[in-house]
Every structure is written in C-alpha cells, then in structure tokens.
C-alpha cells in the first residue's frame, strides 16, 4: 500500500503530468472566482481535453481543477458577498462583514490557510480509508456490484430534495439512454434510429455539456452583467489571518473532519458540509454574539470543510462507483472515458493511480494557495469581466467539446438536444445529476446484471450481501419519499398560517 502511495507520487513528478496539473489549477482558480460558471459545468467542458491523455495526466488536470475551485470561490464570498461556488456560501456570513470592517485581508488569509489544512486533511482521510475498505471492495461479485450501482442511483435520486420520484425516474431514464447503441452481447442495434453515429452510444461529453454547461450559459446570458462593478483595492493582513488558523487549529481540524465525513455521504456534498462546519464553529465558540458580524471562526470553519470534502467524496465514487454529487458523477464519466472502472480494479491494477489522487489534491491546493497569496487582488479583478466576453468563450468550449471526441456533426446536435433537455429540466424542476449518473452508470449496470444472470440465474438476488444492499436501497428510497411528504406538509402548514395571519391583519385594518 505504501509502495502504491510512493508510486502515485512518482507518477505525478514528470513535466507532462505536472503541466496538466498546473493547467487544472489555473482553470480551477478562474472557475471558482466566476460565479456564472460552476465546477460541474467547467468539469464537463474539460472532459474532451482528456481523450488523448494518459489517465494520470487526465486526472491530474480534472482533480486539481476541482480541488482548487473552492479556494477562489471563497474570495468572492469574502470580498463582495457573492459566493463563487455554492460550497462557499457560508463564508459570506462572517467573511463579508469582515471586509466591510476593513479586515478583508485577514479574512482571506484565514480562508486560504484553512483551505490548505482542510485539503491535506481530506487527502489523508482518503489515503487512510483505502487500505481499510480494500478487502471489502475486492470481495464484491457482479450481483453486488449491480446492486451497488442501483444504490448509488437511489442515493442521488432520493436526495434530490422534495423531488425523489422525479430524481429516481431521471436516473432510470439515464440508464435507458445508456442502452442506445450496439448491444455488447448480441451486436443488435438498440434505439439507434438508423444512425451510424449512435452505434457507439451517446457521448458522455455531449450529455455532460448539454445538461450542465448550456443551462449555466443561458443563466449567465440572462443575468448579463459582471458580478462586481469595481475591483477591490489593496488587501493587507493575510499573515494575521493565517496566524488565526494556527491559533484555532483544533477548530480547523474538527471542521476538516466534518467536511470529509459529509463529503463521503452520497448526496450531501460541500454545500451541506460548510453549513455543518459553520454551525460547529458557532457552537464551540464561547462568545456567540460575534457571529454574523465578522467572527474569524465563522470563516475558518467553512473554509476548512470546503476543501476537505474532495478527499471524502472520492471514496464512494472511486471505490464503489457511488458518486456523492454532480461533480463526482461527471468525474465518474471521465473515468469511463479513460477506460477505468470504479470498484475492485481501482484497488488492484490501478492502485497507484488511485493513490495519485491523494497527492493531486495536496499538491493542487499547495500550488493554488501559493498562487492566490500574492495574486489575490488581481484574481479578484476577474469578477469585473463582463458576460459579453465570457459567453462566447464558453460557447466555443461547448462546441469544441461536442466535436472533439468523435468529430461527428451528430455529436454537436446531440449536445444541443441535451442542452434543451437540461434547460427544460431546470425550468420544470427536475434534478439533472441523476440523469447524468444514470447515463454514466448504465453501461456498467447492464454488464454487471448480464454477468450475474448468466452465471447464477436469478439466485444472486438471494445472496445475503445483495439482499442487504437492496434493502438499503429501499430504505433510501422510502426515506426520500417520506422526507418529501414531511417537507410538503410543513410548507403547506406554513402557507396556511401565513394566510391566516394575512387575513387577521386585513381584518385588523
């Protein structure tokens, strides 16, 4: 295991891999600071550039991009009160008041230092968990792996808050879309409509860009302006902020642990982790009255949790094929493009590659923080870039990505079709990640199901381990539906009380 860890580090120490890691870091820093473009859309745009790369280079680029987006996402939260990434929203509560008090530099210093500690902690958790989980993953057979793909899909579907049935249906529709193409067993064309271009199935890149990049682009186009009118001035006090983190090292480590644990839970993701960390920071600080008015602990807690989540969320994604959220679902698509299959093979033949993920997170964050510290003021100027300049560039990347994989015009039209589907899903309140995950996992699920049925008929369903996973799937679905019902009742009750209060107020008038 230690050998694989060293091999993983060694595989990154080449000029080629290092260059791709650097590209990923730079893209991630820019993406994080532009609120119009989130990490799922940026990751989708990045997929086409990974086709010709070795897996280690491809993952160095994709993972380093993901690892650093929250660093600069925090910058806009602190400086202008607009989160660059959804996972940086909690930083607004205390970071922005600190800026108003003239302590922007201190808040940014604390955020950068907490980010770095959090990232190293998350990577260490990933490295520590792999040897523990390895024997379990290696004992899994096709039946269990099929049940796990269904469980993964149920997690993402059931945790689409308030839309469980839609989420599950979207996941199943994704799996049906994944069957488009030549059947691997019989060679029969399925749902190809006579199009040769569909024989290899629907390109994951077209789906990812259509579902995530195009709706974001439309949203950016509708907002139409830069997020900040003026760039912030000179920022001092970064060192004081870094010293604050060392003074509150216990809080930083506890919040890092919270971020990593929440990252491991499918469907929770960084958006939840940062708020749990913020809540912990409030609870564990004696003087609670400072929170919301510029408490440094309110910056350190979410800052640490933000970056420790990546290490945690890679665990279910890489080891079981159960992605924790949207970005991990797209990353899973990137794994399949590279010919990698999550699960046992990632812990046998690809163990050094899996271990290189740990190092990518650490190195990317060190580079990211090193770049941000002297250039933080200049990076903040990116918030003044107008939509009229950003939109054509992103559009170009969408079409480039659509075309780069197969060089077929059909893929351009498929991207447009999935773009329309993505926009419709947003408008009609259907969750998009389960659809993406269904398409990504569909091929694997079919392969596992076929092998399980071919080897053991339907008896595999009666194996205790399969029964446990299927039971867990039912519990996840049931709790999701129950959560929807409870939430709806609460909303209805709230609306009823509001109506009664309004009626009483009207009567009083």
């Amino acid at each position: 295991m230690l050998n694989a860890l060293v091999q993983g580090l060694g595989s990154l120490l080449t000029v080629e891999v290092g260059s791709y890691l650097m590209i990923g870091v730079l893209v991630g820093l820019v993406v994080g600071i532009l609120p119009g473009l989130g990490s799922p859309g940026a990751l989708a745009l990045m997929l086409p550039f990974t086709f010709g790369l070795e897996p280690v280079s491809a993952f160095a680029m994709m993972l380093s991009m993901l690892a650093v987006t929250s660093i600069t996402g925090d910058i806009t939260s602190i400086l202008i009160g607009v989160p660059g990434e959804p996972s940086s929203a909690a930083l607004v509560v205390d970071g922005y008041p600190m800026t108003k008090q003239g302590q922007a530099g201190r808040a940014l210093g604390a955020s950068l230092a907490a980010n770095l500690v959090g990232a190293i902690f998350g990577a260490a958790v990933l490295a520590a968990v792999i040897p523990v989980v390895r024997p379990i993953v290696l004992s899994l057979r096709s039946g269990e792996l099929f049940a796990l793909t269904v469980l993964g899909l149920s997690f993402l579907g059931a945790l689409s808050r308030g839309r469980t049935l839609k989420g599950l249906a979207a996941g199943a529709i994704g799996m049906l879309i994944a069957t488009i193409g030549l059947d691997p067993q019989t060679g029969i064309g399925r749902f190809t409509f006579g199009q040769l271009g569909l024989w290899d199935g629907v390109a994951i890149v077209s789906v990812a860009m259509g579902l995530f990049a195009i709706p974001e682009l439309l949203d950016l186009s509708l907002r139409g302006t830069a997020i900040a009118e003026r760039a912030p001035g000179r920022l001092g006090g970064l060192r004081t902020g870094a010293r604050d983190v060392s003074r509150h090292l216990g809080l930083t480590l506890r919040c890092s642990a919270l971020g990593a644990i929440v990252g491991m839970l499918p469907g929770m993701g960084g958006s939840v982790g940062q708020w749990i960390a913020y809540g912990h920071a409030v609870q564990s600080t004696p003087d609670k009255s400072r929170f919301g008015k510029g408490a440094i602990e309110g910056v350190i807690g979410p800052g640490a949790a933000n970056n420790s989540k990546e290490g945690g969320s890679l665990i279910p994604t890489v080891l079981f094929g159960i992605p924790g959220g949207t970005t991990m679902a797209i990353l899973l698509g990137g794994m399949l493009i590279q010919g990698l299959v999550p699960g046992p093979s990632m812990l046998q033949e690809q163990l050094p590659l899996t271990m290189s993920f740990v190092w990518v997170i650490v190195i990317a964050n060190i580079i990211g923080v090193a770049i941000c510290t002297p250039l933080i003021g200049q990076l903040a100027r990116l918030t003044t870039v107008r939509a009229s300049i950003v939109i054509p560039i992103i559009t170009f990347f969408v079409y480039l990505g659509a075309y780069a994989q197969s060089r077929l015009t059909l893929d351009i039209w498929l991207t447009l079709i999935f773009g329309g589907i993505g926009v419709a899903m947003v408008a009609l309140d259907w969750p998009r990640p389960p659809l993406m995950l269904g398409i990504v996992l569909g091929e694997l699920a079919e392969r596992y199901l076929f092998r399980a049925v071919a080897g053991d008929g339907y008896n595999w369903m009666l194996r205790p381990s399969v029964l446990v996973i299927l039971l867990l799937t039912l519990v996840v679905i049931f709790s999701g539906v129950r959560g929807d019902v409870v939430e709806r009742r609460r909303t209805v009750r709230g609306a009823g009380e509001h109506e009664t209060e309004s009626a009483e107020a009207r009567d009083g008038d």
């Binding site: 249906a169 049906l176 300049i389 054509p392 039209w413 909303t491 209805v492």
Partner: protein, 166 residues
Amino acid sequence: MTARPDRWKRGLLLKELVPALILLVIATWALQTANSWPSRASLFPRWISLAIIVLLSAHLLASVWRARPAGNTPTEPAARTAVDISVDLVGKLRQIMEFTVYFVAFGAAVVILGLATGAGLTSLLYTRFVHRESWLLSVLVSLSMVGLIWLLDAVFGLRFRLGLFY
C-alpha cells in the same frame, strides 16, 4: 379569492403532468421495442423501461393527489401585478430567444464554416450586436478565440473541423 389558487394548481398540475405523460409514452414505446429483441439484448432495457413506467405512474398519482381541491397550495407565488409579470416575461423571453438563436447559429457556423472561422465570426457578431460592445473589444474577443484555437491545437493536438467548403 379562491379562483387564483385553483388556477395556480391547474398550472402546477400541467407543469408536472405533461412532461411525465410524454416520458411515459416514450418508456412504453421503449418497452415494446425492447420486447422485439432477443432476450439477452432486451433484458436490461426491459427492466429499466418497467422501472421508469412504475416511477412515472407514481409521480403522476402523487401530482394529481397534491392538486386535489382540498388543502392549501404550498408554492403559490407572492402576489405581483400583471404589468410586472408581463414586462418580466417579455424581457426574459426576448433574452432567451436571443441566446437560442446565437447558440444554434454558433453550431451551424462551426459545421458550415469550420471551428476557427465559425467561432470567430459568430463571437464578433454576438459581442458587437447583442451586447453592443465596441468594435475594438468585439474584434479582440473574436481574435483571441482564433488564437485560443491555435493554442489548443498546438498543446492538445486536436484536429479541428474545417467546414463544408474545404
């Protein structure tokens, strides 16, 4: 006063029912099509089509149940004037149309003229005429895109599309 919530519920019901019914028809068609294939090829699509039909039926029933006459409406929007809504709607629709035309034109230009020429030309027109930026900035954006294409070709070795006329 009761007319508005009912109308809102009908709208909500339509928003939920129409997409679900369309998807239900597609899933039924997929199931029927899969049944005509050999069992090895149809096993997975049949399972999945059936799962979709069950889930969508449950979703339809739940939507109809939620929109029944009794009870309150949870997501009724705050009262706004008709003028506010129509101004918002017209403005947004115009922006959506502009974006759609631009986006499809970008794709068509890439297919017909090739990536570099198509992307450069569409970006120039979009930046200048939709966002009304200066000619200088529009040309700079357009040229930087062509430069980016050259750079990506050099770094990643992507062979770009040359268009129908080459």
